[in-house]
Amino acid sequence: MTLDRTLAGRPAADLPAAPPPPSRRATPAQWASQSLTMAWRSLVQIKHNPSELLDLSIQPIMFVLLFTFVFGGAIGGSTDAYLQFSLGGLIAQNALFLTVYTATGLATDLQKGTFDRFRSLPIARSAPLSGRIMGDVVRQLWSLVVLLAVGVALGFRITTSPLAVLAAFGLLVAFTVAFSWTSVLLGVLARDPEKVQIYGFTVLFPLTFASNAFAPTQTMPDWLQAWVSINPVTRLADALRGLLVGGPVAANVVATLLWGVAFAAVFGPLAVWALRTRV
């Protein structure tokens, strides 16, 4: 009897005072609101742990100061000239490092029962993920503003238009969201939030340093140049430079976006598959 009812897909009409059947799935509007709630969840904790804001600020500030004053003279001739060159690279590098947050948070949710709790709720299946990524975008923007502010305080000059700066923000967000899929996969596979950091940085250090983020490509050996010139970090850094201090923009923006599409296309399905099989 019960089985028949189930096959029919709805409770029998003759049940007394049957409430309206619950919906089959979440609507797009529900998905949006649930994602926002999840984003709130990922950000509200900063209230109880304000030191997280310091974490998000100190590392970028330290990188700007160290690179500018330690390497700046040697690489760029003067600290001023170097800062004009390197800030775009520092922003790109910092943004990629920040995507590890997504992996750590996800791994924590999976390790504790939090993810199971979410999955037992009648919400859109992707809301926990999309909400987390939205929250991490806010972290990205915070960090970006800190970097720009410190850069400007040290003498960095934005020589383009406000619209170009806005475009830089947009490009950075678009690329990091796409790149986050690698982080989602990492978070699912790592199983342990502590390990996420180690795995994450063993990939991100070579990826970000073997680029022109901190030093011009021409100064590197030929074999490295070949890689550096196609490295997504290089293309992102160049695009940001173009949008902030002038220079070629279109080709770099397109290359960055293509890289983003490639990351999402490869790691998106892998991450979703890993998440499905993991839980």
Partner: protein, 326 residues
């Protein structure tokens, strides 16, 4: 009325491990179904299948009238789940944890806050409401987790070992809460390793072992099946435990269990007690304690699976006693 929870022939394998080997169970609306079994029996796996978290390899399950595989979203809107491992977000406060769930379920800001405050009060967490769950004790986290599963006023509640880690007072409170919920018509599936808990709460019990159901019935049914009554004797002189064990064993026709100085033996018929008393009197053994009581669920479990439900729970000394007797 169709059962609120119905599972039929569930099979779930993890690599070489068979976590569920064709388990079937069913719970009528408004009742408590106790799922009892030792570590690794498959309790959590069964709960996760029923709560739509895990797809079974074989078999089917219907919860609240909906198939868990084909209509998981509908099942989810009827159920609440407290998993074996606390699902609270430790970075959030108690209030925020509950508001999060309420908001996800579509409640407005004010309604969510009110619901959170109400539940925190019910679970004795009002004082800790504004603190990050990270600072909670294990028992407080557990209670917050239970509160979270009730935010949406589920019709069907899955509790996976809900009282593990709770102190006796909190455990009693939880039992009271479960009873109140079932009075309101909520169906509860509760896994436990505590036989007493199943005995206290469950209308029906499913005993599972190695992924398969080895017995079902009411607590009384199961106890009756294990022989019903147990004769329990404690000699005044602990040195006479062996004598008592031998005589009781002979007369009952089964091996008694010994826990410290107390000898227990299944009392198959009414004649056992007088017979034992007479024989012990003849050989000059005086008893400090003599009781005829009903079998505990641990004895039931022992009879059904040949193992104790909780390792080291009570009468693990019986094998050594056997050897001493020889």
């Amino acid at each position: 009325m169709p059962p609120a929870i119905e599972a039929d022939g569930l099979v779930k394998r993890f690599g070489a491990t068979t976590a569920l080997a064709g388990a079937s169970l069913s719970a009528a609306e408004g009742t408590v179904l106790g799922v009892l079994g030792p570590n690794g029996a498959g309790k959590t796996t069964a709960t996760r299948v029923l709560a739509t978290l895990l797809a079974p390899d074989e078999g089917r399950a219907v919860v609240g009238g909906y198939n868990v595989i084909t209509e998981p979203h509908r099942v989810r809107s009827l159920i609440g789940l407290t998993g074996q491992y606390a699902g609270v977000d430790e970075a959030l406060t108690g209030t925020e944890n509950l508001v999060l769930i309420a908001r996800l379920l579509g409640q407005g800001r004010a309604a969510a806050k009110a619901r959170a405050a109400d539940l925190l009060g019910q679970f004795g967490l009002s004082d800790a409401a504004g603190r990050a769950a990270r600072t909670y004790s294990g028992g407080m986290r557990r209670r917050l987790d239970l509160a979270a599963s009730l935010v949406g006023r589920p019709r069907i509640l899955f509790l996976d070992e809900p009282t593990t880690g709770l102190d006796p007072a909190s455990r009693n409170e939880l039992w009271g809460m479960v009873r109140r919920l079932t009075d309101d018509g909520v169906t509860v599936l509760l896994t436990t390793q505590y036989l007493e808990e199943a005995d206290q709460l469950a209308d029906d019990i499913v005993v599972i072992d190695r992924g398969a159901v080895v017995a079902t019935g009411t607590p009384d049914d199961l106890k009756a099946r294990a022989g019903g009554a147990v004769l329990q004797m404690r000699p005044t002189d602990p040195g006479q435990v062996a004598v008592v064990t031998r005589i009781a064993g002979e007369l009952a026709g089964s091996t008694p269990t010994v826990d410290q100085d107390t000898v227990s033996v299944p009392a198959g018929d009414d004649a056992l007690m007088p017979a034992v008393v007479r024989r012990l009197d003849d050989v000059g053994v005086r008893l400090a304690e003599l009781t005829l009581r009903r079998a505990t669920l641990d004895e039931v479990f022992l009879a059904l699976t040949g193992r104790h439900a909780v390792p080291g729970s009570s009468t693990d000394s019986d094998s050594t006693t056997d050897r001493e007797l020889v």
